[in-house]
Symmetry: C2
Subunit: 172 residues, 2 copies
């Protein structure tokens, strides 16, 4: 066991995302993460400053992952929506933190850049602003409700598909 961890930053982000995914942001303890990583309780502060700093890093990584997922999904809103839901289901810890202003340092430049990148990926899907907002709302709403346990089903994307399809087609 050397004095230095090697990649504490990476380990903390991963552990934080996993812990948030499992027990929510409220139950997150920096000291516990430090214990898991085998470092002292004050080590994380050097990399992240404070608790919000850790979650800010998680959120920034989340927006980057989301932007990548949207970019890979293709051009139409249905595919993008499914990618959005798939991302949320695959990275619940990241997702839970990304849209909670009270948990992160909203003005962090790294976070802002990642958020903008995801925003651009979303805005690039269509030139119709209202349609973009509507699509974002359906996908975000379904993802949120799914993660909160309000919706039943085994596979998030499979459950989302008919819902998103209907929203795209209309007829509500």
């Amino acid at each position: 066991m050397s004095y230095h961890h090697g990649d504490l930053r990476r380990a903390m982000i991963d552990a934080a995302a996993a812990a948030v995914a499992e027990r929510g942001p409220a139950a997150l303890s920096l000291r516990e993460l430090a214990r898991l990583a085998g470092v002292s309780h004050a080590a994380p502060a050097h990399h992240f400053g404070d608790k919000a700093g850790v979650l800010t890093a998680v959120a920034a990584e989340g927006f980057t992952l989301l932007a990548d997922a949207l970019a890979t999904a293709g051009g139409d809103l249905l595919a993008a929506g499914l990618a959005y839901v798939r991302f949320a289901a695959a990275h619940p810890g990241h997702f839970a933190v990304m849209f909670d202003p009270g948990l992160v340092h909203g003005d962090d430049p790294v976070l802002a850049a990642a958020r903008d990148r995801a925003g651009d990926a979303l805005a690039g899907l269509t030139s119709d602003a209202v349609a973009a907002r509507a699509a974002w709302s359906v996908a975000h709403g379904f993802a949120s409700l799914w993660l909160s346990g309000a919706l039943t089903g085994t596979d998030a994307a499979a459950a989302a598909e008919p819902v998103l399809r209907r929203a795209v087609a209309g007829g509500l």
Copy 2:
């Protein structure tokens, strides 16, 4: 100043909802609420058990308010969606807690009853399950994004109206 508060339960729920609305659930402190109410820091425990108990009461009240709002809104999905968004904007503290399983006692009977009542109000809008899920998703997603600050605008309902209308009509 008498020994008894009078209606500590009510005061705690109101203060908790206000505090959550202002600074998020993470920054909530039972001791601070107790100070505001002018009672000792252990007084709330008698009424709510623990911290999750306070938020459970807030969530239950939220679902009741939401069920009322949906019942008053009328039958069509657009009106219900607008009522949903209006509720979230008017009671951000309640809304923030209602769909966060990690913050409340999910199996609390009062909460479950209130949640069921809101669920019934939602399900009663249409017999089409897919349409119901889609409408719920749009309204919930827009409300969540709005409260997180991701959407710009001055009035939530005014901003939501064209978006919800488009989702109902389709053409994304």
